[in-house]
Structure formats: C-alpha cells, structure tokens
C-alpha cells in the first residue's frame, strides 16, 4: 500500500514537470517565435530548387546534388564556395548577415540561384 502511494506521487510529479515544460515552450509564453534554422536546396536537372530561397538570419542552408553530373555552389560575390559536389554530396553554409546572395554553379554557369536573408 505504501509503495503504491509513492508511485502515484512520483507519476503526478512527472506529469506536472512535463506540463510546465510544455507551457514554457508554447508560442504564447515566449517573447520571440522560434525561427527555423535550416533550409534545403536541391540541385536537380541542372537547376537549383528553389531557385530563390528566403530565410532568417542565422539559417544554415544545405544544397544536395541529385544529378548524375557534378555541380558546385559558388557565391557570385565570393561569400561562399563549395568544393565540387558529386552525386548526393552536400554543401552547407550559415547565413549570419541579412542580404541577397546570388550564386551559381561554376561548372555550368547557366545554373543560377539566390538566397535572401532577412
């Protein structure tokens, strides 16, 4: 009997702690809404998708090459530059400053895209 009471008290404590945690994490209780911190660009059929991507400051963008042919991701303003990406290889860059970042594939320069950071 004593053992059972202890168990119930323990369970109640757990539920209360969980409820507290949940309320703290809910949007209404925090001053700033959480921002997504990552975004994806697929390199497919000799094009970047989406070709224009808008993200918040601090976002890490990851490009994945889905083509049978290698590509690169190179900032037109020399802010970032991937090594050559073979099939399924990835490149990530974290955008810490607001602005517009045009980029292209230096092997197939007709492939262009941009990341807008705000």
């Amino acid at each position: 009997m004593i053992r059972k009471t202890v168990w119930i008290v323990g369970l109640l404590t757990t539920v209360m702690v969980a409820a507290l945690l949940l309320s703290a994490a809910s949007p209404g209780s925090s001053a700033r809404a959480p921002q997504p911190t990552s975004a994806e660009v697929k390199v497919d059929n000799f094009s970047f998708g989406p070709a224009s991507l808008t993200v918040a400051v601090g976002t890490t963008v990851t490009w994945t090459n889905r083509d049978d042919i290698p590509h690169t991701v190179v900032s037109a303003d020399k802010v970032f530059k991937s090594k050559v990406l073979d099939t399924d290889e990835k490149f990530s860059f974290t955008f810490d400053k607001a602005g517009t970042y045009p980029y292209f594939c230096s092997i197939h320069p007709k492939m262009t895209g941009s990341v807008v950071v705000q």
């Binding site: 000799f46 042919i69 290698p70 090594k83 980029y103 292209f104 230096s106 320069p109 007709k110």
Partner: protein, 313 residues
C-alpha cells in the same frame, strides 16, 4: 553572339544533317554515321577518306571516373575508341582530345586515360581542358600534366604539314549566367599567334565548349568566340573542332566549318529535347552506336578538311 534560331540549325532535325550544298560542304548520315565532305571537288569524294596528306583523330569527353547508369564502364568504351583508331585504314599522325578527359579532375582518372591512350597507334595527344578537368584547383593539376609548354590557362598552337593548329581554353573563370569564356588575354594571344601566317594556311582550332552558338539555354556556346573568329576571317580554311555536347553536329559559315565530336563515354540529349543536358540513358546494346571518334584528313590544295565521324558500334 547571334540568335541560335537564325544560324541555320534545324533544331528538329540536327542529326539528319543533309546538305549545305551552297556553302561548300556535304554532310550525309549513313547508318548512323555522319560524313562531311567539301563539295569543291565532288568527283574525288570517296578517295578523300584515305588520301589525306595529314590525318589525325579527335576524341572527346572521356569522363574517366563517371560510373552512373548511362555508362558504368567509361574505361571500356575509351578502349573501344582506341581500337577504332587502331583499325583506321590510315594510321593518324596524332590525336586531339577536346576535353573532359576526367569526370572529377582526380589524378587517378587522368592516369587511366593516359594509360589507355598509350595503346593507340597515334602516340602524340594534344589536349585542351574541359570544365571537368579543372574542378578544384583552377586547373593547376591539369596544367602540370598537360600544359607545361602552354600559355596562360593552357592554350597553345603548333604546325603540322602546313596546317596551323590552335588549342584554346574556354572553361576557366566562367561567370554566373554566362557561357564558355576565352578571356581578354587569350584573345590577344590568338590575334598575335595568327598575325604572320599566310592567308592560305589551313587553320584548325580546337576547344572544349563549342565556339558557335549551339544552344545557349544549356550553356552550349562561348561568349566571346566571335572575337576569336574575327581574327581568323582572313584565312581561306578554318576548321573548328569542339566537344562538350556529346553529340555530332556540324555547321558551315563562310570559310569556317564547325564540328562537334561524339563523346567516348555517354550521349547527351539533342538541344531542348530533355529537361536538362544530363547524361542520356540508352539501352546497353545501343550505347556504342551513340559514342564515337572523329577522323580528320587534310589534302594540300583543297579548301576544307574532310571530317569523318565513326561510331564505336
């Protein structure tokens, strides 16, 4: 750069490539093989293939290291190309490789190509780089291997039996949204290189990306090629050999014959006929019929060089 729609190319029937009788060349598809002859002396067509005073072979786009379904054995098809070369009725004096030797610019990829080409009847190979050969180090390792005596990023010229050959680099410093680029320094070098040549000297220009506007939407052209061609206007015979687009195409414009070679590795779609210019998959038994080599013959006193494409089938 002119609009590709007005350059005489019929986008619906590229490989049918019938005849430019008025412009000096006849080009006929026979059983999948494109043959091109000057019409200046039609009576001698036929003998021309073997009668050349200078015979050389162009190969292109070996893409050593590529291993995707479009061709899991690019070493095997390059070997087949060498066998084709070794089976030509007249052994070529040398070979031109118009770039994309490797797929990822890896030393072992270049090593494999060099090794396979050693078994060709023609011992000398003159290379120009494709964009796949200069991927990670601005072409430094390409130049160390193939361009020791070249200028700039790897351009050079040489003479063989009265023909002046010019190897150009149009795959470096490519700009966002642009096409192939020769650049100011190289253009100045071309002007200087041909300045003292007689106008009757036959010229062969070879470079990776086409020096004519094949299909700019897919990057199949060179932004400043018009300037290079302007320096060659005074010559009676100019043959431009390119690769990059993995298919045979030909165009004659005045004194200039433009020609692109098949790849030894995998085919690419005809312009605009697919979502992208990526490797085209064909049934395995058909692969060799869309890969090939190009045999070029020059006979002194004739205007155009005879360019004969053969598939690996």
């Amino acid at each position: 750069m002119h609009d590709h729609n007005n350059d005489g190319i019929d986008r619906r029937g590229f490989l049918k490539c019938m005849a430019w009788a008025g412009t000096g060349a006849l080009c006929v598809m026979e059983g999948g093989i494109l043959k091109s002859y000057s019409l200046s002396r039609p009576g001698e067509i036929g003998a021309r293939e073997t009668a050349g005073e200078l015979s050389f072979v162009q190969i292109s786009d070996s893409h050593m290291g590529f291993n995707k379904p479009a061709n899991p054995d690019v070493a095997g098809t390059l070997k087949a190309a060498v066998e084709k070369i070794n089976g030509l009725s007249k052994a070529p004096e040398f070979m031109l490789h118009t770039g994309d030797i490797s797929h990822l610019s890896k030393p072992e990829e270049f090593d494999t190509v060099d090794q396979i080409l050693k078994s060709a009847s023609a011992k000398d190979v003159f290379f120009v780089p494709g964009e796949h050969d200069v991927l990670n180090d601005d072409g430094k390792s390409y130049q160390e291997r193939y361009g020791k005596n070249a200028k700039g990023a790897g351009w050079y010229s040489f003479d063989k039996k009265g023909v002046h050959f010019i190897g150009l680099v149009n795959v470096m410093n490519l700009k966002a949204g642009g096409l192939g680029t020769l650049g100011h320094e190289q253009l100045e070098w071309i002007e200087d290189d041909v300045q003292h040549l007689k106008h009757s000297t036959p010229i062969v220009v070879f470079a990776h990306i086409p020096l004519w506007s094949v299909y700019p939407e897919w990057g199949w052209g060179t932004d400043d090629s018009a300037q290079a061609l302007a320096y060659l206007k005074k010559f009676g015979s100019v043959t431009v050999l390119n690769g990059h687009i993995h298919q045979i195409m030909q165009k004659v414009e005045g004194n200039v014959t433009f020609h692109t070679a098949a790849s030894t590795a995998f085919p690419q779609p005809q312009p605009g006929k697919a979502d992208s210019p990526g490797p085209m998959k064909v049934p395995a038994e058909q692969l060799k019929s869309v890969l090939g080599i190009t045999d070029v013959n020059y006979v002194q006193g004739r205007n155009a060089l005879a360019v004969v494409d053969s598939t690996l089938a």
